[in-house]
C-alpha cells in the first residue's frame, strides 16, 4: 500500500487531480499531513523546535498544523553578515536548520561567493530556489530531486488545465528571462519551453545566468550604506549599473518584439514575469500588433509579484485583452508551493490535492476553515508533496476561499479571484516615532 503522500502525489497523473471526491481527499490529506510532519520533524530542526515549543506531538486535526506553520521570513532568516563575511559553513548550518539538507551532504570548501555556495547545494542533489523581496534579502527555498520531478510532472500534465495542452514541442519560444538561475520561474519557463516549444527556435532575454549576488547587490549595498561605509562612487556605480542593465534588457526586448511581430501567425510560447510581460505588451502594441491577434495555439505564461516596480491596477485586464484568444496559464501560486492553484472555467482557483489550504485570521493564529461557504482570511497551507523542506507556510495574502463545491461542478475548496496582499491593503495609519535604520537608506537606491 502506497503511503498517503505517494497517493496524493500520484493524483497528478490521474487526468483531473482537481476533481477528487471531497471526503476521501480530506482523509487522505490529513493522513499525508501526519506523514509529512513525522518525516520532516526528524530532519528539520526548526520544525522540531516549533513542535517542542508548542507541544504538538501529532496531527489529529488541521488545527494542530496552525502552530507549526512557518512564516515566509524563515527562509531568509540568516544573518546577512554570513554572506558579506563569507561564512559559507555557517550559512550552510543555517540552511540545514530550515530544510531537509544534512550539513555533511554539502562541501563548501573553497566557496568564493553566494553563487558558488548555491551551486554546491545544487551539486549535492538539492535545489535552493531563490525568491527576492523588495528588501533585497533573498529567501532560499529548498527542493530535492523528487520535488523537481514532481514539478515537471505538474507542468506536463496540467498546463492550461482544465483543457490541458498536449506535451508537444511545436511552438516558437520566447522566454523573457535569463538563460539560467536558481529561480523557480526560470526553471518553469525553461521546462515549458522544452515540452511545448521547438528548441532551435527558442529565444531568451539574455544568455547570461541570473546571479544570486546580483539579486542581493542592493541588500549588500544597503547594508554598507547603513554602516556608513558605502561611498558616493559606489552608490553611483550601482545606480548606473542598474541603468545599463535596464537598457540592455530593453534592447533585448525590442529584438523579441520584432521577432514576435514577424511570427505572430505561428503558434508561440511567450513566458515572462508580469513586469516583463507588461513591457512586452506595451511594445507590441506600439509596434502595431493589435490586441487578440496572436495565433490561437500560442501559450502564454506569466506571473510573479511586481516587486519594486508598480504595474497599473488594470494590468491583468490588459494582459487578458492583448492575449485574447490564446492559451494562457491562469493560476494563483507562489514559489513556496508546488504547482499552482489553477483557474477553472469559472475563473476560480482550484487548490491542488497535495496542498491543504488553511485560512487563518489576519494575525495568522486561528484557523477559520469551514465545512461550507466562503471564508475570508490569510492564506496559509501545508504542501504535503514537498520532500526538500517543510511545506507549512503562512503567506501575506488576503484571500476568500469557498469551501463549498465550485460553480464549475468540481469539488472545492477554491480561492476566489479577489486576492490582495495584506501589506497593500494599507492597514491603519498608526504613527510612531520609533523606526528602523531602513527608513534612512531606503529610497536612496532602487529595488
Amino acid at each position: 500500500m502506497a503511503s498517503a503522500r505517494e497517493q496524493i502525489r500520484s493524483l497528478v497523473l490521474s487526468g483531473d487531480p482537481f476533481d477528487q471526491p471531497a471526503d476521501e481527499l480530506k482523509e487522505l490529506r490529513l493522513e499525508a499531513a501526519r506523514e509529512t510532519f513525522t518525516a520532516h520533524r526528524e530532519r528539520i530542526p526548526l520544525l522540531r523546535t516549533r513542535a517542542e515549543e508548542t507541544g504538538v506531538r501529532e496531527i489529529t486535526s488541521l488545527d494542530d498544523l496552525v502552530p507549526l506553520l512557518f512564516s515566509h521570513t524563515s527562509y531568509k532568516s540568516y544573518p546577512v553578515s554570513l554572506i558579506t563575511a563569507g561564512r559559507w559553513d555557517r550559512l550552510l548550518r543555517w540552511y540545514t536548520t530550515v530544510s531537509a539538507v544534512e550539513p555533511d551532504d554539502v562541501d563548501v570548501d573553497g566557496v568564493r561567493d553566494i553563487d558558488e555556495w548555491t551551486d554546491r547545494v545544487t551539486a549535492a542533489g538539492h535545489r535552493p530556489y531563490i525568491t527576492s523581496g523588495t528588501s533585497g534579502k533573498v529567501s532560499f527555498l529548498n527542493c530535492d530531486a523528487s520535488d523537481l520531478s514532481f514539478l515537471h510532472d505538474i507542468l506536463e500534465q496540467l498546463t492550461c488545465w482544465p483543457d490541458p495542452l498536449p506535451p508537444k514541442p511545436v511552438r516558437r519560444g520566447y522566454l523573457l528571462a535569463p538563460a539560467s538561475g536558481p529561480m523557480r520561474s526560470i526553471d518553469g519557463f525553461r521546462w515549458h519551453a522544452e515540452v511545448f516549444a521547438r528548441p532551435e527556435e527558442t529565444r531568451l532575454l539574455t544568455e547570461d545566468p541570473m546571479r544570486v549576488s546580483e539579486l542581493m547587490s542592493s541588500a549588500l549595498l544597503r547594508r554598507r550604506m547603513a554602516e556608513g561605509t558605502a561611498t558616493p562612487r559606489e552608490i553611483s556605480s550601482f545606480e548606473s549599473a542598474s541603468e545599463t542593465r535596464e537598457r540592455e534588457l530593453g534592447a533585448a526586448l525590442a529584438r523579441i518584439v520584432e521577432d514576435i511581430a514577424a511570427h505572430r501567425d505561428e503558434p508561440l510560447l511567450i513566458a515572462g514575469m508580469n513586469n516583463q510581460q507588461f513591457s512586452l505588451i506595451q511594445a507590441l502594441r506600439a509596434r502595431g500588433v493589435p490586441d487578440g491577434s496572436l495565433h490561437p495555439d500560442t501559450l502564454v505564461l506569466s506571473g510573479g509579484g511586481n516587486k519594486g516596480r508598480a504595474l497599473p491596477d488594470d494590468y491583468q485586464q490588459q494582459f487578458a485583452a492583448f492575449y485574447a484568444g490564446v492559451r494562457r496559464v491562469r493560476s494563483y501560486g507562489m514559489t513556496e508551493l508546488q504547482g499552482s492553484c489553477l483557474a477553472c472555467e469559472k475563473s476560480r482557483y482550484h487548490i491542488p490535492p497535495w496542498v491543504i489550504p488553511l485560512v487563518l485570521d489576519e494575525p495568522g493564529e486561528t484557523l477559520l476553515n469551514a465545512e461550507h461557504g466562503v471564508v475570508e482570511g490569510r492564506f496559509a497551507f501545508l504542501d504535503v508533496s514537498l520532500e526538500g523542506r517543510w511545506g507549512g507556510l503562512i503567506s501575506g495574502d488576503r484571500v476568500l476561499v469557498d469551501f463549498s463545491p465550485c460553480e464549475c461542478g468540481r469539488a472545492g475548496p477554491v480561492v476566489l479571484p479577489d486576492i490582495q496582499r495584506y501589506g497593500d491593503l494599507g492597514g491603519d495609519d498608526k504613527i510612531t516615532c520609533a523606526a528602523t535604520l531602513d527608513s534612512y537608506v531606503r529610497g536612496m537606491i532602487h529595488g
Binding site: P45, L46, T49, R50, E53, F70, S71, T73, S74, S77, Y78, P79, V80, S81, R90, R93, W94, T97, V98, K137, A226, E227, G228, E362, P363, G364, E365, L368, A370, H372, G373, V374, V375, E376, I394, L425, G427, D428, D429, K430, I431, T432, C433, A434, A435, T436, L437, D438, S439, Y440, R442, G443
Partner: protein, 469 residues
C-alpha cells in the same frame, strides 16, 4: 459570505468607538462618519474643511496675548489634568485601552503624569533656552549689528498643522504646549493609535478658560493619514506656514509632496536608539546589576514603542562578559516600571522564527528569555538584521566602545552610556555619526524641556522669525 465572516464584522461594528473632534476650541457635534478597518473601526465627525483654517487676513486669536498669561493658562491646565475633575482624561483613557497596543497600566501611568509637561519651570525652560527669553515672543527684541547698526527681531506666531505620533501619550501634551507657547494657530491631526489624548487635553484647557484666545487657537481632528482630499487642500501656504510631522516614514514621505515655497516641513523623524556599556560594568556584581537595571529601563520605555527605547546594546568585553550582562538584562526586562509593564506584547510570529533560527546557530548566537513578552535578549557577534521590537534587546560584544560608534548613524537618536564618565570620550564621535542625544544609561526616557529634540530647538524652529532692520 459565511457565518464566520459576518459575525466578525457585526461584532466590530457594535464595538466601534466614537472619536471627539475639537474645532477652534470647541467640541464638534457634527454628523459621525466611520473610519478604520474591521476590528478597529471608529467613528468621528465629518470634516468641515473651512472651519479647520484660520484666515490669513486676520491675526490668530492669541497672537497678542502676553506669554505670561499663556504660561498661567498652561499651568492651570496642568493642574486640571492632574485633578481630572471632569473625568475627561479618565474617559480618554478608557477609550485608549480598547485600541492602543500599550497595556492599560502603562497608559494609566502615562496619563497620570501628563500634567508634568505643563509645569511652570518646564515652560520657562523651553522659552529661555530655545528663544532666549519671553521678550522676543511678546515683542521686538533689539539686536546689535556690525557697524553700530541696530535692528529688531520678533518670534512671530506661526500657523501650524501638526501630524502627531501616537505611540506615547506625552507627544500630544508636548505638541499642545509647544503650539500654545508659539501663540500661533494649531491644527492637530490625530493618529489612529492615539485618537483621544490630544482632545482630552484641549477639552481640559477649554474647561479651565472657556473661549480663551489660546483655546480658540486649537483644532484636533482625525482624517486618514495621506487622504489627498484633505491634505492637498489644507497643506498650502495660503493656510499654514509649517507642517510639524512626527515620524513614520510614510508620513514624512507623504508630507514631502506638499512642501514648497512658503510651506515648510518640521520633521520629528522616525528614530531608533542604542546603549553602550563600558567594561566598568564588570568591576563588581553591584556595578553589573546597576548597568543591567539601567539598560533594561532604557530598553523598556513605553514597552519599547518609543524612539528613545534602546534596542541594540554594545558591551565592552568578551563574549562571556556579554553573556553575563545579557542574562541579567533579560531578568530586568520583565520588571514593571513607570512607563513599562512586566508583561509586554507576545513576540510576533515572524520575529519568533528569526530568533529560533539564531538559537540554532550557537555558540555565535545565544538567546535568553521566551516569546511571552516579558523580555528577550539575543547575544550576537554583530547587530541582528531584524528590528528588535516588543522588549527584545540585541547585545553585541565589542572590544572597545569606540567600535560601537560605528553602529550609530543618522537614524540613531539616543545613546545611553554606562558609566556616565565614559560619555565625554564618546560624544563627539557619536555626534559625528549622526546621533542627537548622549545620555547616562537609564536616562533615555523623558526628554528634559529646553534641550534640543532630533537635532534642533523645536520652539525656535516653529516660530516665524521676522526682522525690523
Amino acid at each position: 459570505m459565511s457565518d464566520t465572516t459576518l459575525d466578525g464584522v457585526a461584532g466590530t461594528a457594535a464595538g466601534s468607538v466614537a472619536v471627539v473632534h475639537i474645532v477652534r476650541g470647541e467640541v464638534d457635534h457634527g454628523a459621525q462618519t466611520t473610519h478604520g478597518r474591521p476590528g478597529a473601526a471608529f467613528t468621528a465627525p465629518a470634516l468641515d474643511l473651512d472651519r479647520l483654517v484660520w484666515p490669513r487676513s486676520e491675526p490668530g486669536p492669541a497672537f497678542q496675548v502676553p506669554v505670561a498669561e499663556i504660561v498661567d493658562l498652561l499651568v492651570e491646565t496642568g493642574e486640571a489634568l492632574r485633578a481630572d475633575r471632569a473625568g475627561l482624561l479618565a474617559e480618554a483613557l478608557e477609550r485608549m485601552v480598547r485600541v492602543s497596543p500599550l497595556p492599560a497600566q502603562v497608559l494609566e501611568r502615562a496619563y497620570a503624569v501628563l500634567w508634568r509637561s505643563f509645569r511652570r519651570p518646564n515652560l520657562y525652560a523651553q522659552i529661555d533656552h530655545e528663544l532666549g527669553g519671553t521678550d522676543v515672543l511678546d515683542g521686538w527684541r533689539e539686536v546689535g549689528l556690525p557697524d553700530d547698526r541696530t535692528a529688531a527681531v520678533r518670534a512671530f506666531p506661526p500657523r501650524l498643522v501638526h501630524i502627531i505620533a501616537g505611540n506615547a501619550p506625552g507627544v500630544a501634551a508636548m505638541s499642545v504646549v509647544r503650539g500654545a507657547l508659539t501663540k500661533g494657530v494649531n491644527l492637530l491631526k490625530l493618529p489612529s493609535n492615539d485618537l483621544f489624548t490630544a482632545t482630552a487635553i484641549l477639552r481640559t484647557m477649554a474647561a479651565v478658560a472657556p473661549g480663551h484666545p489660546v483655546v480658540r487657537s486649537f483644532s484636533a481632528v482625525y482624517w486618514r493619514g495621506g487622504d489627498e482630499t484633505v491634505e492637498s487642500v489644507l497643506f498650502r501656504p495660503q493656510f499654514f506656514d509649517k507642517l510639524v510631522a512626527w515620524g513614520g516614514e510614510a508620513t514624512i514621505r507623504g508630507a514631502l509632496r506638499y512642501v514648497g515655497p512658503g510651506f515648510e516641513l518640521v520633521s520629528f523623524d522616525p528614530k531608533t536608539s542604542i546603549s553602550l556599556i563600558g567594561r566598568e560594568a564588570f568591576e563588581s556584581p553591584e556595578t553589573l546589576a546597576r548597568a543591567a537595571e539601567a539598560g533594561a529601563a532604557d530598553a523598556t520605555f513605553f514597552n519599547q514603542q518609543a524612539c528613545v527605547a534602546s534596542r541594540f546594546q554594545f558591551v565592552e568585553g568578551s563574549r562571556d562578559d556579554a553573556d553575563r550582562y545579557a542574562a541579567l538584562l533579560c531578568e530586568r526586562l520583565g520588571v514593571a516600571r513607570e512607563f513599562s509593564s512586566a508583561d509586554g506584547p507576545r513576540v510576533a510570529a515572524g520575529l519568533r522564527e528569526e530568533i529560533d533560527v539564531l538559537r540554532s546557530l550557537a555558540p555565535e548566537y545565544r538567546v535568553w528569555g521566551g516569546y511571552d513578552g516579558r523580555g528577550l535578549v539575543i547575544r550576537s557577534p554583530e547587530p541582528v538584521d531584524f528590528h528588535p521590537d516588543g522588549k527584545i534587546v540585541d547585545v553585541v560584544p565589542v572590544a572597545d566602545l569606540s567600535e560601537a560608534v560605528g553602529h550609530a548613524g543618522v537614524a540613531t537618536q539616543t545613546v545611553g552610556v554606562y558609566p556616565p564618565t565614559r560619555k565625554a570620550e564618546l560624544r563627539d564621535a557619536l555626534a559625528c555619526a549622526g546621533v542627537q542625544r548622549v545620555v547616562s544609561l537609564g536616562g533615555a526616557g523623558g526628554m528634559p524641556p529646553g534641550l534640543s529634540h532630533d537635532g534642533f530647538y523645536p520652539l525656535q524652529r516653529l516660530m516665524r522669525w521676522v526682522n525690523d532692520e
